[in-house]
Symmetry: C2
């Protein structure tokens, strides 16, 4: 998605450790109009007329997933993050490692809100190592729901979470894949 790549090039800041800060439009201050265009872009790739829900993980995925769900006319469900070993009944849960917080966290979705009659589009704003995505996929599998696909706005290609999912056969569509971010220069996969 050309417009998204241009925003990343123009406004993205490359920090030490391969951290790419695009919090001016994606995950702290959210450009809601751009989220609408991203939602429309996913709808060109996935058949959103057949989905029953959009699933994401808290917190920063919620904004994009809400705009998507709103445009596709379905509910949005977000997996909650809990400290590990906090086990309750009636929940699908999956343990992931959070690179942001440097600790294990558990993603939780109430069994009331996802079931084997659902057809789920997973949406996230950002994917790096793909740990949160692994947890969401685990929850979808546990629930017996069908997976319609995975839409990601910005993927950090050089951390290979997305590549692992593609190799495993998942239908993952990322709108901007950052191949490298060295010396402050951001390069996208597929660009010359």
């Amino acid at each position: 998605m050309q417009k998204l790549k241009e925003r990343i090039r123009r406004e993205g800041k490359v920090l030490p450790g391969g951290i790419i800060k695009i919090d001016g439009f994606l995950n702290h201050r959210v450009d809601t109009a751009l989220m609408g265009e991203i939602a429309d872009e996913f709808a060109k790739y996935f058949d959103v007329s057949k989905i029953t829900m959009v699933l994401t993980a808290e917190a920063s995925g919620i904004a994009l997933a809400t705009v998507c769900a709103s445009r596709y006319g379905v509910p949005m469900v977000f997996a909650k993050k809990a400290k590990s070993d906090n086990i309750e009944g009636g929940l699908y849960q999956s343990d992931i490692f959070s690179y942001t917080y440097k600790k294990k966290v558990t993603l939780l979705v109430a069994q009331d809100w996802i079931s084997d009659s659902d057809r789920v589009l997973i949406v996230d704003d950002f994917m790096a190592n793909g740990e949160a995505m692994r947890g969401l996929l685990d929850i979808v599998a546990k629930s017996g729901a069908q997976l319609a696909g995975i839409g990601v706005a910005v993927e950090k290609g050089f951390q290979h979470g997305g590549d692992r999912l593609r190799e495993a056969g998942y239908d993952l569509h990322s709108l901007a894949i950052i191949e490298s971010a060295e010396d402050g220069v951001i390069t996208f996969r597929g660009d010359q």
Copy 2:
């Protein structure tokens, strides 16, 4: 807002300790169409044509705030929650007590995304003791931004966070104020 009250009456579960669970449409599984109607309801009360941003706190406020910001044509900013004593530069921050997590948390907004030229509508899905709201108001005050008002979907009137804000002169508009939730019966303020 009659429709919201009906949903709360029909789907809300009253748990011990005055906890009201409405996670089937508000804060786990989100009914995006209802969020749109709530956004339109706020727009009848507040002059949203003059605001420059919608502000909320992560995580569950993000969905409603995103729909509001999208309809009003402005960006949505969410305050991030961090562990206390994690002080960084370039941030407005406010310490609040989280009754959910039974500990102090810090709300953070980057100084890049709120300033004295902003006119801010604060939106949240739920208000009980009003601690998160106190933190958001503190951040708006520190930034020098103008406050356009506070829109809340569901207020727990019997915990009086909203009453304290009204007494302090804030323009708070809640669409459903739960006055009591005893023996499983939910009663709204203003109802006969």
